[in-house]
């Protein structure tokens, strides 16, 4: 009746996951009760859960990423403490628990923090920058988000019900095959990624179509803001790479569930095929994450330097070059496979070539700052911090792209330091910069600068103290994923890394405080103008938060930095009165619970598949299919916002803007 599920799935003997799970459950129940008692449930349902507004969905993506960042971060803290005290001792974590922690940490940080964070920011900002009303497929957008949330939920369920994979974040066979991992850990891993992977693919298709087909009048390709270009590149990579992940995980699951022999040791299976397939997805994935961050830096650096982006066209070219080359380097993840010197040399050189367009970008940001009026607001701090940090990560990347060096450094802590250097210093700093930069746009009030700057400095310092020692122990021969060790030379560096982790944690606390303080002071931090940073692209042309339809009219774009040019023009015209345009009715997509209901059935299906509860699998799949048929049967999928309402909202926006321009003129 319940497949493999019974009471032994609950880890009564292990206090840490049990207590953590209990605390989280109590917190969730508490929030739910508070929501119901206070009567917020209808508001949540109508305004957020069933919303198909790209801005709301973007905010929910970022919220999911932030919560999961705390979850993945607590895993990181546990690992650093373990390695700090596990010198000639077992430490405080049993080995099988430690193995689950590092697997969960990697899986969560990549799939449920970095991915939703960048997809959320792209969702929120790209339609605004393109001057359009929504993404290409609004309901599908909601489905994509809720499927991502399903994956995150399943990973967290594994904390209390059953176990998570002990195989590392990419579940290499034959360790992940049934004979070596008979438990449900790998199944949790594979099904949660399979479901959230579908969500990511949907988001990718949506954003590619949005950028290519929905730009506003005059928004030629070479006038798109840099963030739109990097979004396009990143989502092209999603569309091309995520099906590879889907196929690879499907093969692994067929091996585990039906006794197939794709990657087994016996009957002719080929383990190295898994390495090739997973990294053919996994390497582009790195650029899926970092390209949008590059876009954010471009926007931030240009805005806070008060200058157009230096070398815009070379930036576009560099972005697209990275997009293509990133698919040609996957083999550098297993130089030690034995493919031979020729293959290794080709992939090594291809890997180093990526440093060229990336270097072009760094120089372009530096030249954008050169001669500019730089304002060191929090987003700019994150950007400059990124440039300093990422260069080290890039240089160590070129180092491990040299095959002979890689034979020494392969699977060492040096590698761990390298990819944390680029993922934290590249992606996460970018995500934070984007968060600080666009927060006023999303919510209509600014974030507290003092807490933000404190958060930056603690995180930045903490990052360096944590990860530079890992380079050193890597050079001293420490391999990754060690539960305990007895080499005296590593010990001091592990202690320094643990101290760095404490500093990093203070940074996280500062950022949480920033959010709390800003929400409490939101009246004082209110952004009336919609353009708090003196921005250059179209998202600043509408009010903060934008109306549901974003723009009363499709803006008419005449050049790069569209909104900057409009502001300059308005100042030159000395606010001459313009005849009010004719407002028209606007059709917007109706809310739909499709995404939420679909994710509900996906959760049931995923959970049932993990525990082999077959009747529940059938129920879940039928439910998901029925959801789509019901969605397809709707007769009215749009509603009309009358012209009078559009006019009212737009006049308020224009008045605020006039006051802004006249103030600027007075100065």
């Amino acid at each position: 009746m319940l497949g493999k599920l019974d009471w032994s799935a609950i880890p009564f003997g292990q206090p840490i996951p049990l207590v953590a799970g209990a605390v989280v459950l109590v917190a969730i129940l508490g929030v739910l009760i508070w929501v119901v008692v206070k009567g917020h449930l209808p508001y949540l349902w109508h305004e957020w859960i069933t919303s198909v507004d790209h801005k709301r969905i973007g905010v929910m993506y970022v919220l999911l990423a932030s919560v999961m960042l705390l979850r993945g971060g607590s895993d990181a803290i546990m690992m650093r403490i373990q390695q700090a005290i596990a010198y000639q001792s077992q430490g405080y974590l049993p080995p099988e628990h430690y193995n689950q922690i590092f697997s969960a940490h990697g899986t969560i940080m990549i799939f449920f923090v970095a991915m939703p964070f960048v997809i959320g920011l792209m969702n929120l900002v790209v339609p605004l920058q393109l001057g359009v009303r929504d993404v290409a497929f609004p309901t599908l957008n909601s489905v994509g988000f809720w499927l991502t949330a399903t994956g995150a939920l399943l990973v967290n369920v594994s904390l209390v019900v059953g176990e998570f994979a002990r195989t590392g974040w990419l579940a290499f066979p034959p360790l992940s095959e049934l004979s070596y991992s008979p438990g449900v850990g790998v199944d949790y891993y594979a099904w949660s990624l399979q479901i959230s992977g579908v969500g990511t693919l949907v988001a990718g298709i949506n954003l590619v179509t949005t950028v290519l087909k929905l730009r506003t009048r005059g928004m030629n390709y070479l006038r798109m803001p840099m963030f739109c270009w990097t979004t396009l590149a990143s989502n092209l990579l999603i569309v091309a790479a995520f099906p590879i992940l889907t196929a690879t995980l499907a093969m692994l699951l067929l091996d585990r569930y039906l006794g197939f022999h794709f990657f087994t040791n016996e009957a002719g299976g080929n383990v190295m095929m898994f390495m090739n397939l997973i990294w053919a997805w996994g390497h582009p994935e790195v650029y899926i994450l970092v390209l949008p961050a590059f876009g954010i830096y471009s926007e931030v650096v240009s805005t806070f330097s008060g200058k157009p982006l230096f070398g815009y066209r070379s930036m576009v070219l560099a972005t697209m070059a990275i997009c293509v080359i990133s698919f040609m380097v996957w083999l550098h993840h297993f130089f030690t496979m034995g493919a031979g010197p020729d293959v290794n040399a080709i992939f090594g050189i291809a890997s180093m070539i990526i440093a060229v367009p990336t270097g072009v970008k760094i120089y372009n940001w530096l030249f954008t700052m050169y001669g500019g009026r730089i304002r060191f607001a929090t987003p700019m701090l994150w950007s400059v911090g990124f440039m300093v940090t990422f260069i080290i990560g890039g240089l160590t990347g070129v180092l491990v792209a040299v095959p002979p060096a890689d034979f020494v450094l392969h699977n060492s802590m040096f590698l761990v330091a390298h990819f944390h250097n680029v993922i934290i210093g590249g992606v996460l700093f970018g995500a934070f910069a984007g968060f600080e930069y666009w927060f006023p746009k999303a919510f209509g009030f600014r974030l507290d600068e003092r807490w933000g700057k404190a958060g930056f400095w603690f995180t930045f310092t903490g990052f360096w103290i944590t990860f530079m020692p890992l380079y050193v122990v890597g050079m001293l021969g420490m391999t990754r994923r060690m539960q305990h060790y007895d080499v005296a030379a590593w010990r001091p560096w592990m202690l320094v890394a643990a101290i760095g982790m404490a500093v990093l944690t203070i940074g996280v606390v500062c950022q949480v405080m920033q959010l709390v303080v800003s929400i409490r002071n939101r009246a004082a931090l209110r952004d009336r103008t919609g353009d708090p940073w003196d921005g250059r692209s179209l998202e600043w042309a509408t009010s903060s938060p934008p109306p549901v339809f974003n723009f009363a009219f499709h803006p008419d774009v005449r050049g790069e930095d569209a909104y900057w040019a409009m502001k300059q023009h308005a100042k030159e015209q000395q606010l001459a009165h313009h005849a009010e345009p004719e407002y028209e009715d606007i059709e917007m997509p109706r809310n739909s619970p499709t995404g939420f209901v679909c994710a509900f059935f996906a959760t049931i299906t995923g959970f049932a598949l993990i525990w082999h509860i077959w009747w529940m699998v059938i129920l879940g799949v039928l439910g998901a299919f029925a959801t789509f048929v019901v969605f397809a049967w709707r007769d009215h999928d749009e509603y009309v916002i009358p012209a009078a309402e559009v006019a009212r909202i737009d006049r308020v926006n224009i008045e605020e803007r006039r006051s802004l321009v006249s103030m600027a003129g007075a100065i």
């Binding site: 693919l201 298709i205 730009r215 030629n220 099906p243 022999h261 080929n270 313009h578 224009i654």
Partner: protein, 213 residues
């Protein structure tokens, strides 16, 4: 409103490369839908290419089990191919009927497409069942694993297509040729034709190359 007002063209052509063709604005819904669906189909083809790659890697790993030439029956494959190619034709007829709002020919075209699709599936099912009954199931060897997965993945797509086809017929029956339903019909037709293209690859790579002794 300021943003729609005209202003100087100073920044229109900052690099003096000549006239810049002005982008006309968002594309109509029909284009957007079809374009998005094309992008999805491309991603689906990437997924298939992984199964093709796995097949190519594992084709010689028979683990002392049968080779392709010992188990493939060219006659069955020929009938399957004819069924699928014909169904693409009838699907095209149904699309044209939908464009000219002719219910009778639409239902007829879709029904024939459905029957041909089911015929294809039943032949494939019989082939699989026969192999399994002889002890040549997917867990016999890595080659059979790759064979069943690649051909089965295509079969699953056809099954999903049949389900979608029936849903489309029901939608037209209940709601007529509405604009959104015609857009869905266009996506369905693209999907069905793409399956045909993938079958041509399966047929060539698996059965023609593998059938040679």
């Amino acid at each position: 409103m300021a943003m729609t007002a005209t202003y100087g063209h100073a920044r229109t052509d900052p690099h003096h490369i000549g006239r810049v063709a002005e982008h006309a604005g968002p594309a109509p819904k029909r284009i957007v839908t079809a374009y998005g669906f094309w992008v999805f189909l491309l991603s689906d083809i990437v997924m298939f290419s992984c199964f093709f790659a796995a097949y190519a890697v594992l084709v010689s790993q028979t683990a002392d089990g049968p080779k392709g030439s010992e188990i493939f029956e060219q006659r069955n494959v020929a009938i399957e191919t004819v069924c699928l190619l014909l169904s693409s034709f009838t699907c095209g007829m149904a699309s044209i009927a939908a464009d000219v709002r002719n219910r009778f020919w639409f239902y007829l075209g879709m029904a024939v497409t459905c029957v041909l699709g089911l015929a294809f599936l039943s032949i494939e099912f019989r082939e699989f069942a026969d192999l399994v009954s002889r002890g040549y199931g997917p867990s016999r060897s890595a080659f059979l694993t790759a064979f069943f997965s690649l051909v089965g993945c295509h079969g699953l797509h056809v099954s999903a297509g049949v389900l979608w086809l029936l849903t489309m017929m029901a939608q037209v029956f209940a709601k007529g040729f509405r604009a959104d339903i015609l857009r869905r019909m266009m996506c369905f037709a693209l999907f069905w034709h793409a399956l045909d293209i993938i079958w041509v690859a399966v047929f060539s790579v698996v059965y023609l190359l593998g059938g040679a002794p």
